[in-house]
Amino acid sequence: MTQGQQIRLGRAMVWLLSTLMVGLLLLPLLGLALSTGFSEFVAGWSNPAVLPALWLSLETSTLSLLLSLLLGTPLAWLIAQSRGQRQALAESLFKLPMVIPPAVAGVALLVTFGGSSWLGAQLATLGLSLVFTKAAVVLAQTFVSAPYYLSAAISAFRSVDSGLMWVGRSLGAGPARVFFRIALPLAAPALFSGAAMCWARSLGEFGATLMFAGNLSGRTQTMPLAIFTALESDLQAAQALSIVLVLAALMVLFGTVLARRMGRSRQEKGENL
């Protein structure tokens, strides 16, 4: 085979494999959209479970994202500064919730915070109980999705040149100013995509939520739970709800992309003296 032929063959392989991947990822979504008739889609929207579930999903996924950002960013910063074995250990440890099945996560949460646990008993003396509450939904979502943000954030902070940080300090800035004005902005793009993954995982979270928080419309029934519940009786309704969820997720994703683009252009126009 000549070199030209080899290159052409290689290119053809790349295209073939890519097409297969695109097919695998997009065809099911397309299939979902096409197999649901318009009237069924409309009926899906008017399903009484939809609005409470959608609202709850958006509310809890946002809360769990904020929780992940608030608690995860400092931890990621600390881990990114550490070296060697301690860093490797920390990273693997915090990735665990990602690899265990969500149902197992649910059982773990139940066993740790549930009514029969030690922690649960302490909470009960204060008159509080976590299971079957919206807080439990947020907790379950955060448990499974925070590691996605954490690992992206560790990577992001590690990629910031530490030399720049020392230069910043030498210019008279304390560690806080160096973090907020130098490290964070430089890490921001990677942090942002980590946050997007974290939020997406939260939105789709089902197994742990069902086990730990239960399933009650308006309080703990998020969209994925509503879809699975609908599946028990009405496949069409489940399909319609699925499309609603996909559309909602798409809208939020586009919204964030737009927001970032606007923010960046404002920054570029901004400091013209």
Partner: protein
Amino acid sequence: MTSRALQVDVQVVVGAFALDLQLELGATERRALIGPNGSGKSIALRTLIGAHRPNRGVIWVGDRCVFDSARPLALPPEARRIGYLPQDYGLFPHLSAAQNVEFAVRSRHPQWSRSERLQRAVAYLDDLGVAGSRARRPGVLSGGERQRVALARALAAEPTLLLLDEPMSALDIEVRREVRSFLRQTLERLKLPTLLVAHELDDVLSLADRVSLMDKGAVVETASVEEAARRPPTAFACEFWRTSPKQEPNALLE
């Protein structure tokens, strides 16, 4: 003690490397620090700004003690008033030239408004002839411009001592002569005590009054540039001058 710009006597261990540094700088002295790769020059600079913590010793900057293992005292980098330019100049890539300098102005004038600080920043840039680049990001500036912006930024923090780590090595060979000339004029004008790490003979001869030779983590000898150029005192120093890629040692003025 007060007539000295810098007094260092420290022992530092960084990884597998041990540094035993003794150095004194006069009030307006410009000292070049030379030596083979791995002799500890860059580590010395980073120790002075506070990136490495010595096991033992003292560091005095002017009449302020910034490090004393006996007390113990270790001022954080932001309190040391030591200007520092790493080899790649360390400009913040996400900020414009003016914003970079403003970062330093903020340290000295936190109560000023943003626009006041930016105005002062542009003044610093102007002083070094790069006010025209104020709105541009470091990525689109030339090497020489970047050096000037970094210098302006270091000066905006009002340092009492200036450290330059191989200030010319990030530049293309063709522009070095011109940039070095400007740097020399600027340093002479500022009269700031300066310690610069150099590899090239040209840089040493042009930018420094005196030169210290480092080897294996310690300063081996110190002399004025004229002395060293004319008559290297030791066989080792001789070796260094000979292997440095340069022409006549008498090209002091450029």
